[in-house]
């Protein structure tokens, strides 16, 4: 029997998302927080684990967490779903909306999972290249909306891997004109200070995604979706009942109860980002783009492969991009600890002058 005849064509035609584990000493490739959570908070997680019964199913739907996050974000808790990372919430959105009919639109380059999950759920994909300043080509997007009415539009705000926030007026123009759902993915919003939360009152088709993966809890896979009541009601039918395990629920609770502490840490990252950017600007042939995130994208006049290899030889892992016409000769580096940033800069200077 040929198993492939049973598989959706969109799945057959794509590659699996690849995230190989590359051994390194300084990990600046995945936009994680460079600091583990403080020992005092970790102890609280451990105390909670000692008390809970691992033989019991997690509480379905995470009602306490929804209340907690609703308080943080100033929304009704029925507007909120907690997921096994934003990845799961993106997939839920794509599963719930009709397939094929009119397509899923997003700018490019952006977060890879929009496209991968759109294909895996049988959607047609409409990619619209960013303009030369890495902002939205709003005219093209509005034309596509008028012409094809995409059922879902994804924006990463700030955008990964470019690092910038798109112009808010451009996103609002699309929110206004779109007859589909517009997702503003704020995975990196803790470093930008910008959010579309205030727009929720005005636009029933707005969905906001949040994540705890960039602020110190990547290991726990916690994402949050916020949207209008009727939409969230439908999405909850698609969400698997026990999607968030008990220990991730405990970690999410910890975040809610200590949000100020996590926020201070994120503010520190934003400060170090500016220092790192200023240092990068001083290096000949390195051109950092403005960033609202916890990472910096920079173009180089040097061969990125040899920079990548040179850094890895010194134990430093970054991410390189070399897609013709999209991102050429670019490197993305996560903002690390002061020591990590120093070592990264030193190694980079060494490689470029040797």
């Amino acid at each position: 029997m040929n198993i492939k005849t049973l598989i959706m064509e969109e799945v057959l035609n794509q590659e699996a998302y690849s995230a190989p584990e590359i051994p390194c000493r300084i990990k600046l490739d995945a936009n994680e927080s460079s600091y583990d959570i403080p020992p005092s908070l970790k102890s609280r997680i451990i105390e909670s684990i000692e008390k809970i019964s691992l033989n019991r199913y997690p509480e379905p739907g995470s009602p306490d967490l929804r209340k907690g996050f609703a308080g943080l974000y100033g929304v009704d808790d029925d507007m909120l779903i907690v997921g096994n990372g934003s990845d799961e919430l993106i997939q839920i959105l794509l599963m719930a909306v009709k397939g094929q009919a009119s397509g899923v639109m997003f700018p490019t380059p952006t977060f890879a999972m929009y496209k991968i999950s759109a294909f895996n759920t049988g959607h047609r994909v409409i990619e619209v290249p960013l303009d030369s300043r890495f902002d939205l080509d709003v005219d093209s997007m509005l034309e596509i909306i008028a012409d094809k009415s995409p059922e879902l539009v994804f924006f990463s705000y700030p955008n990964n891997p470019t690092g910038n926030c798109f112009d808010a007026d451009r996103i609002e123009a699309i929110l206004k004109e779109s007859s589909g759902i517009v997702v503003v993915d704020e995975a990196y919003a803790n470093f930008s200070g910008k959010t579309f939360l205030p727009y929720l009152d005005r636009y029933e088709n707005l969905v906001i995604l949040k994540s705890l993966s960039k602020v110190g809890l990547a290991a726990m896979r916690i994402g949050i979706l916020i949207g209008s009541l009727p939409l969230v009601h439908e999405l909850n039918k698609v969400r698997l009942p026990y999607n968030l395990n008990t220990l991730s629920q405990i970690a999410a609770r910890l975040y809610i109860d200590n949000e100020a502490e996590f926020r201070r840490q994120a503010d520190g990252v934003a400060g170090r980002r500016e220092e790192l950017s200023n240092e990068l600007k001083k290096i000949d042939g390195i051109y950092p783009y403005a960033s609202d995130s916890n990472f910096i994208l920079f173009g180089c006049t040097f061969d990125t492969d040899s920079i990548y290899d040179g850094l890895l030889k010194k134990g430093i892992l970054i991410k390189k991009f070399n897609t013709p016409g999209v991102l050429e000769n670019c490197i993305r580096v996560t903002v690390g600890t002061p020591e990590e940033n120093e070592e990264f800069l030193g190694a980079l200077r060494d490689i470029l002058t040797s």
Copy 2:
């Protein structure tokens, strides 16, 4: 704007899976293990948590776990996917196979998620009632296979909520004739001693699901899928890259390293199941069905609502079924600790004689 116009009809037409938290003292409704894992094993989880960095993403694809489970089940590790509970693996299967074309078949009554997730992924559903002995109506199923070639067939082995294992020859007849994938969900196989693992060599269309939720780790959401290499290759494209959080990976590792201890505990449950069944048989008007699982389904000549309410008043939670033509006047009780079973039996006798 009317959000509902954007949502798949199959999603609109269904109810969300409901699993309300009902406060109780003795929880015998969800087929969990009645014992938490031993303190010595819990300490090892805690030691591991102390060592890991919560700020780092989990290892994608869980390669070490795949190797470990592959060793336990005697298969190649590339035949294996670890999931966020079997629920996720069922969803991945349903996402990967073509929609609508020919339908998804399963017997009824069975585990609710086959139907819910089939609808959520846009499939047509073909339900075939079990025969009067809760076994497969193999003739009807073979006719449907000849006629409609369902792309996926699901069997729960042992079946939930009836508790029995279907006749293996009937499942094999379907494996032989089916041009689609046949899933044998062995979530409860630790209590039956029966498995389709040896059939994997013979049938490329066989998929086996395993779960750690019934043996003491329900909180952690760990499921395992085993299938042929070409199928697993495609399914991995649909699996979200970071589907299993780091702490669940740690718990799964603990299970692998201490499988014998978990197995002893499961054997204890199987023994207590027989004792509980024998005691139930002695009660007038109570008719327990033979079970290969960690729960017992029984029919009663009494009103199940008043039994349910009476037990709950005493702090004991069980599950009742009253679907005309499918399961009428039935109750499902999880095998508890010796003390829990004793208390449940005493309370049941009290209610029936008062």
